[in-house]
């Protein structure tokens, strides 16, 4: 399951003078679930639209390993846009059959597939209703059904759950969890929690460039840093004074602690990024005892993907 499915090389897109995507490279391995992460406006949607062939890139190319020469790469892709738009006068069943026929399925095959998929996404009861009356969550699920109708090698989704209410979100996430064991999935999101929950690999992009990419596990282990959060008693000036002095001392380089790499005071919380967890814990406790700092909570843990994301994207 490690064969390469798709490779993106030097993909760029400019709109006039605005460079939306600046030479992006990444590849997708077969069977993986890849999240394209980035803040709003980073170029996620533009990248995805170029992958699906809806937007011609200014430069660069997208290539599929398994594509026979002359074959349309669109045959391998199933695409679900952020807000899928359908023909409101069609029924759910009609639309999925239509999508199947467009992908080259025969009449009876398309009908069977449509029935199976609508059942699967939980729209069997609404199959005969007109799409104009579908809710946002139902449309998203129908979008998933029509994207899967031709058993694509790669399912591409643009912000699949961003526009949904918590219930619809749960439902779609549950479906995605099932699907990722069956096909290769690429989705974009700005919700880190979803990415952490679902994906194997992440590609973080920032203002049109790849800021960081790799498997979630390796990124975690490489960039994971021990962090200590100390909550101080706000009313107690002694504690706050100590914290301010401590932060100032470390930042000015006046006193460098080998166990500490970063210190920051946010309100009444002191955030410490440690170099070595065990040393840090020991040294900090000694420091606290020496100055008899009154604190209300001390939390020791590791930086989350969100911290990493903020660090990568926020620069």
């Amino acid at each position: 399951m490690t064969a390469q499915l798709m490779e993106v090389k030097g993909l760029s897109k400019s709109f006039g003078t605005m460079k939306a995507v600046k030479s992006i490279d990444f590849s997708i391995q077969e069977g993986r679930c890849v999240a394209l992460l980035g803040p709003n406006g980073a170029g996620k949607t533009t990248t995805i639209r170029m992958l699906t062939g809806l937007l011609a890139p200014t430069a660069g190319e997208v290539s599929f390993r398994s594509l026979a020469p002359g074959e349309d790469r669109r045959a391998l892709i199933g695409y679900l846009p952020q807000t899928p738009a359908f023909h409101n006068w069609m029924s759910g069943m009609e639309y999925v059959v239509y999508a199947g026929r467009l992908c080259g399925l025969g009449v009876s095959e398309a009908k069977n597939r449509a029935k199976e998929l609508l059942e699967r996404v939980g729209l069997a009861d609404a199959a005969k209703r007109k799409l104009g009356g579908y809710s946002g969550g139902m449309k998203q699920r129908l979008g998933l059904a029509q994207a899967l109708v031709h058993q694509p090698k790669l399912l591409v989704m643009d912000e699949p759950v961003s526009a949904l209410d918590p219930l619809g979100r749960r439902e779609v996430l549950r479906l995605l969890k099932e699907l990722k064991s069956e096909t290769t999935v690429l989705f974009s999101t700005h919700v880190l929690h979803d990415a952490e929950e679902l994906c194997d690999d992440v590609v973080i992009i920032r203002s049109g460039e790849v800021a960081l990419q790799g498997s979630l596990a390796s990124i975690r282990s490489q960039h994971r840093q021990p962090v200590i959060e100390l909550k101080l008693d706000e009313d107690n000036t002694r504690g706050m004074d100590w914290a301010r002095a401590f932060v100032q001392r470390t930042n000015s380089g006046e006193a460098s602690y080998s166990w500490l790499s970063e210190a920051e005071l946010r309100g009444n919380r002191l955030h410490l990024t440690a170099a070595h967890m065990d040393q840090a814990r020991q040294a900090l406790l000694e420091e606290l005892a020496r100055h008899s700092v009154p604190f209300s909570r001390l939390e020791v843990g590791y930086s989350s993907l969100e911290d990493l994301f903020m660090k990568v994207v926020g620069e």
Binding site: L55, Y79, P84, G104, H150
Partner: protein, 288 residues
């Protein structure tokens, strides 16, 4: 959950067979697209009201011509004793008048009915979902074009046929040859104008813009052909005049070489406009 996975995997293994068939079934994809367009025309009731409007327009002309003396007499507010002599209209003239009715009202209705055919889907994003599938851009445009052609030729045949029938009933029999010839020439003019509408529907965001640009182009071409017939006889704008001549001349119209050119340029222009629409669509299949 596992059961569902099994089903999916089971069918997945057999998925190679239909995919290899996919490449050879471009025709089936085109028919699917065309079927969808026709179903849309039907469900949006365009396939019903457009022909009805044409039929009403077509019937109105001979009926009005027939009753004109009575209408003037009853509603004319003429002083007592006025004698009005209105020569009985010629059947062929009534048909030509019907055509000019279609040339104004008919083309307006058709252009309004078709103006959003591409831009509507593009603006909503519905076209994106179709064009990420292995569907050729040409068959997308051609299916839309063919549905417009079915609607316009069908409506024109119904309306013009009704005019011909009522002219026969009320006024006089007009030979089939001038009727059919003028029908084909006018149909070609309609096809040309509506292909321009299709192009602008692909090029412009606004549907109304597409309708009025193409109507403007149609008016410009007819006016030019009327003003300087010597130099514009080859343009598609000359087709309307040619159709009136065909309707009023007995038997086959003696077409001059320049008139043949009007037909040929119209056909070439339609092909070129379609090709341009495909290119425009290819450049930006969907908008955000």
């Amino acid at each position: 959950m596992n059961g569902a996975n099994e089903v999916y995997r089971g069918t997945h293994r057999g998925a190679e067979a239909p995919r290899s068939a996919t490449r050879s079934s471009g025709g089936a994809v085109f028919l699917t697209l065309l079927g969808k367009e026709c179903l849309e025309l039907l469900r949006s009731f365009k396939l019903i009201w457009v022909p009805i409007v044409f039929a009403v327009l077509g019937i109105m002309q001979p009926v009005l011509s027939y009753y004109m003396p009575i209408i003037i007499e009853k509603a004319g507010n003429m002083p007592e004793g006025t004698v009005i002599e209105i020569p009985a209209p010629m059947g062929s003239q009534v048909l030509a008048d019907t055509l000019s009715q279609f040339g104004v009202m008919g083309i307006l209705i058709l252009a309004l009915a078709c103006m959003g055919i591409v831009s509507g889907e593009r603006n909503s994003g519905a076209s994106a979902l179709v064009l990420v599938k292995p569907v050729s851009y040409a068959s997308y445009i051609l299916s839309k074009w063919l549905s417009i052609m079915l609607l316009s030729w069908g409506s024109l045949l119904l309306g013009y046929g009704a005019a011909w029938y009522y002219t026969w009933l009320l006024i006089e029999y007009v030979d089939v040859v001038p009727f059919l010839l003028s029908f084909v020439l006018y149909g070609l003019w309609f096809s040309f104008v509506l292909t321009v509408t299709l192009l602008f529907s692909t090029a412009l965001r606004s549907a109304a813009g597409a309708a009025f640009t193409s109507l403007g182009a149609a008016i410009l071409l007819t006016v030019l052909a009327g003003l300087i017939p010597k130099y514009m006889a080859w343009s598609p704008g000359a087709l309307t005049g040619l159709a009136y001549q065909a309707a009023t001349s007995p038997g086959w119209l003696q077409m001059e070489p320049a008139s043949w050119w009007a037909v040929i340029t119209a056909l070439i222009a339609i092909a070129a406009l379609l090709a341009a629409s495909v290119v425009l669509l290819k450049r930006a299949p969907a908008r955000d």
